[in-house]
């Protein structure tokens, strides 16, 4: 029957807005303002899931974020589905689809229930003890089976269609929690308007416990009216940012706080553009934790049946949502606060009995109030067990005896139970902030001790439970002027801690649950102690108590108390576990934010990028850059495209986008001296208009970077670096300039992106470029190899470099970036008579390897000296100093047998070595075989004759070439060695690392 368990005239739900949600395919009528949990309870659906290990029927335990049982699979349509949502925090909307989890074939009939009957097998440490042997079975049997059984819920199978956003914010005071303490703090902190306040609460409405408090008054208003008035006041204040549906999930150093705001989960039809969640990173001057407290269940046999809730949660369902799991209620408690739940239940027309663990003389004024309300109270009673299966049908209770035992048992028929074993302050945030927690014996709880960061706590999270004190405490934390809000409340506080309810049925006690989500019983914890575990951290890992996604919000103190009791220690002696973020489960989407798809990482593109895309180029990632890799024509393979491009450059002319090379402008009277100290070679005598290849070492003497440098003027140099090395080189130079060479006057400016760089390479390069250039004499004599001229190309200013990384005569046209594409198009058009061929990075790599030019990071690996790669000629013998000079004399850098750069030619020219392949002297050598080095570069070259060097048009049609770093390599030139292949070994000839135009004549034509 629909709304069978709805209570007339109660609750904050909007009865004028009926909605329908689904549960396991069944339509469940509800109202706007319901949660999934209250909607299910309203319709008598109490059995909403199966427990993790024993597959016991479970229902809703709590009314808030601490819920361990009622985990639902939520489907909001269009692939927006995720498992393990706590039904108590899922707002109901029309069309919401929910399903129960952890059962097969159905919620009602679940074969996993066998685990419950076999539960003696599944004691603490079951896996560790059972699956010891044979070890081979782990991989094939145990692990796959355990993996299938483990975990809750099913992961979504389609990409999350929702979008998420990150935001940063700053405030003077961040208040976590908008219950009485948080609201009082916000009022006080914001009153003079000078401080920026953020107040966040995980619920849809501000108010916290006040939302289900029907009896207290504050400043003469009902609790609910005071909340409304306070929210209205705060929203008028421009210095207050109010964030409902926002969980403060993490507290990091420097008061850096993460908040996750749920924006659309409560909407039937969220607007398309809106983010589902917004992850706030707040830097707060001060944090006020007003995070409240969680109620503890009582630990007795069968304390987990559907219909058995925490007492104050039962009160919240009755008062806030107008629903009850049953009409015949037993409140079982060891403290005072549950009496208000009983009184409220009674006033809602329910039949109510109180079972109080405490002796009559330990019970305070609450007794009189309950008696006046007509409620029967069984004091000095223990709860022995419960009856029922998918809903509780009775509570078995017995009077306690003076000797610590129990008397005659009786069963109280009931269909709803509210349990209260006291309260646990929510200290997660302050613990994350590294504040000390101290155990307060009177409160039986850890409360915040000395703060570590600028943080304080207020209200129930520091053990202040009475409403009036909460308000005063919050007001004080907000350090406001004026009077604190003043409350009148009949709610009583205080409780007598009880770890395990006394019983005369030890056997039953096996199913006294401590951790509901991980199905950990009191027996498991006692067993762990018996087996020698003494630290709570060890007991936790052995039994898994507190390790579920609820992080033991309802169970930690009960578990700790049982361990302490068994060891006859106090709880602080056993220790408390560490609280780690996030406070509640947080979606992956929230962490990803906007960083998905094209926004995952910047894709740096050159001015000619779109042209290359249109030409069908394939791209490769180099650092963050997209670089054209090769330009396939038609259905050409990569190999064929690269071979064609390689031939075209040597035979006519190619065009290449070299924009990504790093560029640094070094300007100032001491620019040349600075380069002299940074590079290994000499710079003082380089004339303006001339270029030089420079090699740069780290302090340790190893090659760091290389590149061509042009002297633009006496006091101005244009440096190029490798693509990936640009930021590193600029940082390296700035480091030396600012800390070591402070006597030098110059500046360093990154100009990588100022210039588009168009490399035109090949025997016809001059004929292509010259017609586009004005103001520069392009003749070979006037503008030789390794020089640079400023002038105009296509009418725009350029720095025209005559340089070559291919071995051919060629130019690198530098024009301001916005002109790059148009100039490129002009060059391409001018090159048409010469079949100008665009080529990519792969061809560039092959061409330079033919010439034996190294690539820093490919031939070198951070442990390679100039001598190792045959560049000792670039190391000045006369300069007094340069970065790395002293290290070059280190014994290990001058030792014999260092790995040195050589060329390798396979005896079979069709065999292509693998880059990374190992080089050995004797493939028959005993294992471990001595390895001499490895292949660093390997390509098929169309330009190297099959015989090894020379012109392929005369002696053959290309072959494989390779470069390698080999121990004592320079002295091995001319010998033969072996390289590993996927099948075995292949014989190679060691050569000098140059395969084409060894004299370098072609670049000077």
């Amino acid at each position: 029957m629909s709304h069978a368990n709805r209570l007339a005239g109660r609750g904050r739900i909007d009865r004028s807005k009926p909605i329908i949600i689904q549960f396991n395919g069944r339509e469940v009528p509800a109202y706007h303002g319901d949660t999934a949990a209250s909607a299910l309870i309203a319709n008598g659906i109490l059995h909403v899931g199966r427990s993790f290990k024993y597959h016991r029927p479970r229902g809703v335990l709590a009314a808030g974020a601490e819920e361990p049982n009622a985990l639902l699979d939520i489907d909001r349509g269009n692939g927006r589905r995720d498992p393990n949502n706590r039904a108590t925090v899922v707002e109901a909307f029309d069309g919401l689809v929910t399903r129960s989890q952890n059962h097969w074939p159905s919620l009602k009939y679940d074969v996993g229930t066998l685990n419950d009957m076999a539960s003696p097998l599944f004691s603490a440490g079951f896996y560790y003890k059972t699956f010891m042997w044979p070890s081979a079975a782990w991989k094939r049997v145990y692990e796959p089976v355990i993996r299938r059984a483990a975990g809750l819920g099913k992961a979504p199978t389609v990409p999350d269609p929702d979008r998420y956003v990150h935001s940063h914010a700053h405030c003077d005071v961040l208040i976590s929690g908008a219950g009485p303490a948080g609201l009082a703090a916000a009022l006080a902190a914001s009153v003079d308007g000078s401080r920026r306040i953020i107040i966040a609460d995980e619920q849809n409405e501000f108010g916290g416990t006040l939302l289900h408090d029907l009896t207290s008054t504050i400043d003469g208003l009902s609790a609910s009216d005071w909340v409304a008035q306070t929210v209205a006041t705060l929203s008028q204040r421009s210095n207050v940012r109010m964030l409902p549906r926002t969980t403060v999930v993490a507290y990091y150093n420097h008061n850096h706080i993460a908040l996750n705001q749920r924006l659309t989960d409560h909407q039937s039809n969220p607007s398309k553009g809106m983010a589902r969640e917004r992850l706030w990173q707040v830097r707060a001057g001060e944090v006020i934790a007003a995070t409240g407290a969680h109620e503890r269940p009582l630990v007795f046999a069968g304390n987990d049946r559907p219909g058995m809730l925490l007492a104050d949660s039962l009160r919240a369902f009755i008062n806030r949502y107008g629903v009850t799991p049953g009409r015949n209620v037993v409140i079982a408690t060891s403290g005072a606060s549950a009496y208000q739940a009983a009184i409220d239940a009674k006033s809602a027309g329910l039949f109510v009995t109180i079972v109080d663990y405490r002796k009559r003389d330990e019970i305070g004024d609450e007794r009189l109030l309950a008696t006046q309300a007509g409620i029967e109270i069984l004091d000095n009673h223990s709860v022995i067990g419960s009856t029922g299966r998918t809903q509780v049908t009775g509570l078995i209770v017995a009077p306690k005896t003076a000797s610590g035992g129990v008397g005659d048992v009786r069963t109280l028929n009931c269909d709803a139970v509210g349990m209260s074993g006291g309260w646990t302050p929510v200290v997660h945030l302050v613990s994350q902030s590294r504040a000390k927690l101290v155990f307060d014996t009177a409160l039986d709880a850890f409360i915040p001790g000395e703060a570590y960061q600028s943080e304080r706590s207020a209200g129930a999270c520091r053990g202040v439970y009475a409403l009036d004190e909460c308000l005063a405490n919050g007001h004080e934390a907000g350090s406001g002027a004026g009077a604190a809000p003043s409350a009148k409340s009949s709610e009583a506080t205080g409780f007598e801690p009880v770890r395990l309810m006394p019983t005369n049925r030890q056997k039953l006690r096996d199913k006294a649950f401590v951790d509901f989500q991980n199905d950990v019983t009191a027996k498991d914890i006692n067993l762990a102690v018996q087996e020698g575990f003494q630290s709570i951290e060890h007991v936790k890992r052995y039994t898994t108590t507190g390790m579920a996604t609820d992080q033991g919000k309802t169970s930690n103190i009960n578990a700790l108390g049982i361990v302490a009791g068994a060891l006859e220690l106090t709880p602080p002696d056993v220790g408390t576990t560490t609280f780690r973020p996030p406070y509640t489960p947080t979606t992956f989407g929230a962490f990803a934010g906007q960083a998905r798809g094209v926004l995952f990482d910047p894709e740096r593109i050159t001015p000619m990028h779109d042209w290359a895309v249109k030409k069908g180029a394939k791209f490769e990632d180099v650092a963050l850059w997209k670089r054209a890799w090769y330009f396939p024509q038609g259905r050409e393979t990569m190999h064929d495209a690269v071979q064609r491009e390689c031939r075209a450059v040597r035979e006519s002319v190619g065009i290449f986008d070299a924009t990504t090379l790093g560029k640094i402008e070094v300007v100032g009277p001491d620019a040349a001296e600075f380069l002299n100290r940074i590079y290994t070679n000499s710079w003082l005598k380089l004339k303006p208009g001339r270029c030089r290849y420079g090699l740069m070492l780290k302090e340790d003497g190893y090659i760091m970077d290389d590149g061509v440098v042009a002297r633009v003027a006496d006091d101005r140099f244009h440096i190029t670096t490798t693509t990936g090395g640009a930021p590193r080189v600029l940082g390296h130079m700035e480091d030396y300039l600012q800390t070591e060479f402070t006597d030098l006057k110059l500046s360093l400016t990154s100009t990588t992106e100022q210039w588009a760089v168009i490399a035109v390479q090949g025997p016809n390069a001059r004929d292509v470029v010259a017609p586009l250039v004005s103001d520069i004499d392009m003749s070979n004599d006037a503008f030789p190899h390794m020089s640079m001229r400023e002038g105009k190309v296509c009418g725009v200013p350029c720095r025209l470099f005559r340089v070559s990384f291919t071995g051919e005569a060629g130019y690198e046209i530098n024009v301001p970036s916005d002109y790059g594409e148009a100039v490129w198009e002009a060059v391409y058009a001018a090159g048409q008579p010469y079949d100008i061929t665009p080529y990519g990075t792969e061809t560039m790599h092959v061409l330079r390897a033919e010439k034996g030019f190294i690539i820093v990071g490919q031939e070198t690996d951070g442990t390679v000296t100039p001598e190792d790669v045959g560049l000792s000629g670039l190391v000045s013998k006369v300069k007094a100093d340069f970065v790395g000079k002293r290290s070059l004399a280190r014994p290990d850098l001058v030792a014999e047998g260092r790995k040195q750069l050589v060329g390798l030619l396979t005896l079979d020219p069709d065999v292509l070595l693998d880059e990374g392949a190992q080089i050995v002297d004797d493939p028959q050598a005993a294992l471990p075989m001595p390895m001499l080095g490895h292949v660093t570069s390997s390509y098929v070259s169309p330009n190297v004759a099959r015989g090894g060097t020379g012109d392929p048009q005369q002696s053959g049609d290309g072959r494989s070439i390779a470069m390698a770093m080999i121990a004592g390599g320079h002295s091995r030139v001319g010998t033969r060695l072996y390289a590993t292949t996927r099948e075995g070994f292949t014989e190679v000839q060691v050569t000098k690392p140059v395969f084409f135009d060894p004299d370098g004549g072609r670049a000077n034509v």
Binding site: H170, R278, P602, Q754, L772, D818
Partner: protein, 207 residues
């Protein structure tokens, strides 16, 4: 010497991007690409700056992490951002492409004052944000406090936006609305623009 007459066309990084700024009549943050500008990196020490006056109309008298907007003549706005003790970014908002002329003017005005100048006109581009939610949109990627007290009109600083380095300038308000100028390197332009636009939508600043 060649005889060709053509002058290469200038195309910014957004040249081929369709629907770059879908106009929206429901937005509290307008995001637009700024016009091309001339830019120079100027380096000189603080004592030299004191002697430098206002070269080519650029006011260099501000403290670190602040900017000066001034007008040299009727046609060309001048913006200078001091990013460090010895570092200024000079921006001349002009349609004409006269980097050489401006550099010559700066060099002439600076005379004997020890300095270095580097043309970075094409290295950077600028995106402007204005509207009541402009700071909120920037705060989706920039961790700085952009409140009026911490980041008033006249603030300029090098910082981060998501995974890009930016220079963030709080320019003179446009009417009652704040105006932010975000300078970033050219190759990050599409990433920056797409990120800002996506973020504006996601926080409801553009519907």
């Amino acid at each position: 010497m060649s005889d060709h007459e053509m002058i290469a066309e200038r195309r910014d990084v957004f040249h081929a991007v369709d629907n770059l700024t879908k106009p929206s009549n429901n937005e509290s943050c307008a995001i637009s690409v700024a016009a091309p500008a001339l830019r120079f990196g100027l380096r000189m020490d603080a004592t030299a700056a004191a002697a430098a006056g206002k070269p080519a109309g650029f006011d260099l008298s501000q403290s670190i992490n602040s900017l000066r907007q001034s007008v040299a003549d009727a046609a060309s706005g001048r913006l200078s951002a001091r990013l460090g003790p010895d570092e200024w970014l000079l921006i001349a908002e002009t349609g004409a492409d006269a980097a050489e002329a401006l550099m010559a003017g700066l060099t002439a005005d600076l005379g004997d004052v020890a300095h270095t100048l580097v043309d970075v006109s094409h290295r950077n581009l600028a995106i402007e944000l204005t509207g009541s939610a402009a700071a909120d949109v920037l705060n989706t990627g920039c961790p700085l406090d952009l409140g009026d007290q911490a980041f008033p009109v006249g603030t300029a600083t090098r910082t981060l936006f998501a995974k890009a380095e930016i220079i963030l300038c709080r320019c003179e308000n446009v009417g009652q609305q704040p105006l932010y100028r975000v300078e970033c390197w050219r190759s990050f332009g599409r990433y920056m623009h797409a990120y800002l636009q996506e973020s504006a939508e996601l926080i409801g600043a553009r519907v």
